[in-house]
Symmetry: C2
């Protein structure tokens, strides 16, 4: 059995939470009190992790917010990965993929150099661009399927020869390409009806569901429509609405308390459902 | 006018070369003589740059081969970017894209933190995932269209509602979305007939053409089918077949001579065509 998938499902079951904390740690948005520290983003992330640890099944590190600051940002990414709780699924939200010999290097980057449990990848270039990720049988590979943004209309939702949208083809192919249960898909919470339909037709895939909070999706709908028949195999990501709570904070403790309250509320909304 | 596009076109015209040198600098493949140096990849790249500078219109840095070695690799990427000749187009072959606020961070990474002239991006998530890149009016944004790998069949070539393959929709949308002539597409040299067709129907786009050399495409076909009617606005990438010449090398000079010979041959094959 796939150890990353098992870890995630054990955590979901024991905590009764599908919360994935999205560390989209934009330096321009992190509270002023962290700005004077030597490593603002690292300290901010550590505070968020402490504040959410009892409620989170997974953490998702969005590589863009680290690459945007060059080497200093990549150091923050590395430190953040090391600070993630080992009982939670760690996801590199990297949206990578290229021809085979290049994807092999990306897989090495996010499964070895930075040893995440899981990665997000883009399907456009097809099988040989994804195969190097699937070769890691104890990792989880989340392929973009139906995303939460308006642009999903432009290509993902185009109707192909079989009369169905392209993202349905992605779903089917990914199911066929996985090894040892290591495939997942990214399906946005902003389209709950379609989420339900895709989950029904792919009971064996792990779902990463973004779009709750700032993008407008509902946590309860994401959980009820995204979980598999056993109430497992899905995590629901919340980033901005959780890690940037409203208000001014005069201490790290005060900030953590605010994030902890938000995480607690999100957790509570799921407990009865799992 | 777009300054990156102008720079590339002036270089193509003055040199009569569309050669793009792909720095897919896999440490496992670089000659033994570099391995004992303090920064093997940096020294290897500097040697390749010296050996190709008189023949190259562009350099493409494939981010995967740097990320795969974590922070040390990213330092090599940064040093390599600084060593690129300013008269050549510098391309971050990054294949990024995500929802808008995240793509904004990726654009910042590869246009500001690491100031490349151009980037490759993936279209799957649609307009708002590409818009933040197009907002940089003096850069070039190469959107994956019809790639050189076998997996292009899986999704890129699927027939959509209008009876044509998905990649044709990508081509048209990208033409419409660009600003200030800053859009390009990635079209593989492994399908020369289709390359010719796409170039004919998108005379205003800049073409980045991979697939020559190790992947089997021909340089001459790529140039004759990929150039615009003025013999401009395309670069043809060669990576492995150029930077990893056969043979054993006992000195950097010897290695550079071998790479220089290859680059000269590629250049010569184009001069009469441009």
């Amino acid at each position: 059995m796939n150890s990353s998938r098992n870890k995630a499902n054990e955590r979901i079951a024991s905590l009764r939470s599908m919360l994935c904390v999205g560390l989209d740690s934009d330096p321009a948005k992190i509270p002023a009190l962290f700005q004077s520290m030597q490593h603002p983003v690292q300290e901010f992330n550590r505070a968020v992790i402490r504040a959410t640890r009892d409620h989170a099944a997974a953490y998702k590190v969005n590589t863009a917010f680290y690459e945007s600051r060059g080497l200093a940002g990549m150091r923050d990414l590395e430190e953040t990965l090391q600070a993630l709780p080992p009982e939670c699924l760690s996801i590199a939200d990297a949206k990578r993929a290229d021809i085979g010999n290049t994807s092999r290097q990306y897989a090495k980057a996010f499964f070895e150099a930075w040893p995440f449990d899981a990665i997000t990848v883009a399907p456009y270039m097809g099988f040989d661009s994804l195969e190097p990720f699937f070769e890691y049988e104890d990792k989880l590979v989340f392929v973009l399927c139906l995303t939460s943004n308006p642009g999903s209309r432009d290509f993902e939702e185009r109707i192909v020869e079989d009369g169905r949208p392209l993202y349905r083809s992605v779903l089917e192919r990914v199911s066929a390409w996985q090894r040892n249960g290591n495939a997942g898909v990214v399906v946005g919470a902003t389209k709950p009806g379609l989420l339900q339909e895709l989950r029904r037709d792919a009971p064996d895939l792990f779902f990463l569901i973004p779009g709750v909070g700032a993008q407008g999706g509902s946590m309860q709908e994401a959980v009820s429509h995204g979980a598999d028949p056993e109430g497992r195999s899905a995590v629901v990501n919340v980033s901005r609405a959780l890690i940037f709570p409203d208000g001014e904070f005069s201490s790290v403790e005060q900030f953590e308390a605010a994030v902890n309250r938000e995480a607690g509320k999100l957790h509570e909304s799921m407990i009865g459902m799992l």
